[in-house]
């Protein structure tokens, strides 16, 4: 599992969220392509992509002379699974407790 705090930190920035949303909806893109449709420079896009790659939310794929970036949902799925497991565990335990006190 990725460091969940790195994932949350990556998601806490509005621009990075937009980068991620565009990759998720438009498919693999280069930083240049992303900057063409966003009001920020290619350098700024690259900086945000680095954070997203580090968080495991974006994959970096060199293709020939360019680098394409794609959305990678595994860290979000992992966190959702963690939350579900923890919640299910407490549901079961608290139900045990409630029954034992009836």
């Amino acid at each position: 599992m990725m460091n969940p705090h790195q994932v949350f930190s990556a998601l806490s920035d509005q621009t990075r969220l937009e980068v991620l949303a565009r990759l998720a909806s438009s498919g693999p893109s280069t930083a240049t392509e992303l900057s063409a449709v966003m009001p920020i420079s290619r350098q700024a896009v690259s900086k945000h992509l680095t954070a997203l790659v580090q968080a495991g939310l974006v994959e970096r794929n060199p293709v020939g002379r360019e680098v394409r970036f794609s959305f990678h949902s595994d860290p979000l799925d992992d966190i959702a699974q963690w939350a579900s497991d923890i919640g299910t565990g407490w549901d079961r335990r608290l139900e045990n407790l409630r029954r034992s006190m009836q």
Binding site: H5, F8, T30, A31, R42, E66, L94
Partner: protein, 136 residues
């Protein structure tokens, strides 16, 4: 209820129990009583700095430290498995007439990130190399 925010994730559950505050407090602060409903063997020294462990069959030992205790109202500890995510567990007790509501909240705690991960976070070597190709 489940929710998450930019700094972490928190899972919260509540239950109303047919018992007074004192009995509920006993059930969440005595190892034997905790073991009866937690699904594993629990040991706990319910004082700040005290050790707490949970050993469920077939699962790795969960171990940690009691962080805060407000007698009869709230107990809070942090724990983790050796290779798992560290979390904080908080129990709160609220009397409701003759019954008692017990709320448990488990929250992810920050990991310590070190070494190459930190160095690569911003302008790290990976992207610096990639930029050569991006510029083409």
């Amino acid at each position: 209820m489940q929710h998450s925010n930019a700094s972490g994730a928190s899972i919260e559950r509540s239950v109303e129990l047919e018992a007074g505050r004192g009995e509920v407090w006993r059930r969440i602060t005595e190892g034997r009583a905790l073991s009866d409903w937690m699904g594993g063997v629990v040991t706990i020294d319910p004082r700040p700095g005290g050790r707490v462990t949970l050993h469920e069959d077939g699962a790795p030992l969960v171990w940690g430290t009691v962080e805060d205790v407000v007698d009869g109202r709230r107990i809070q500890w942090t724990w983790r498995t050796d290779d798992g995510l560290p979390t904080m567990v908080e129990f709160e007790i609220d009397p409701i007439e003759t019954r008692t509501r017990l709320t448990v909240r488990e929250t992810l705690l920050p990991w310590t990130v070190s070494g190459p991960e930190v160095n690569n976070l911003w302008g790290g070597s990976t992207l610096a190399q990639g930029s050569v190709f991006l510029a083409a």
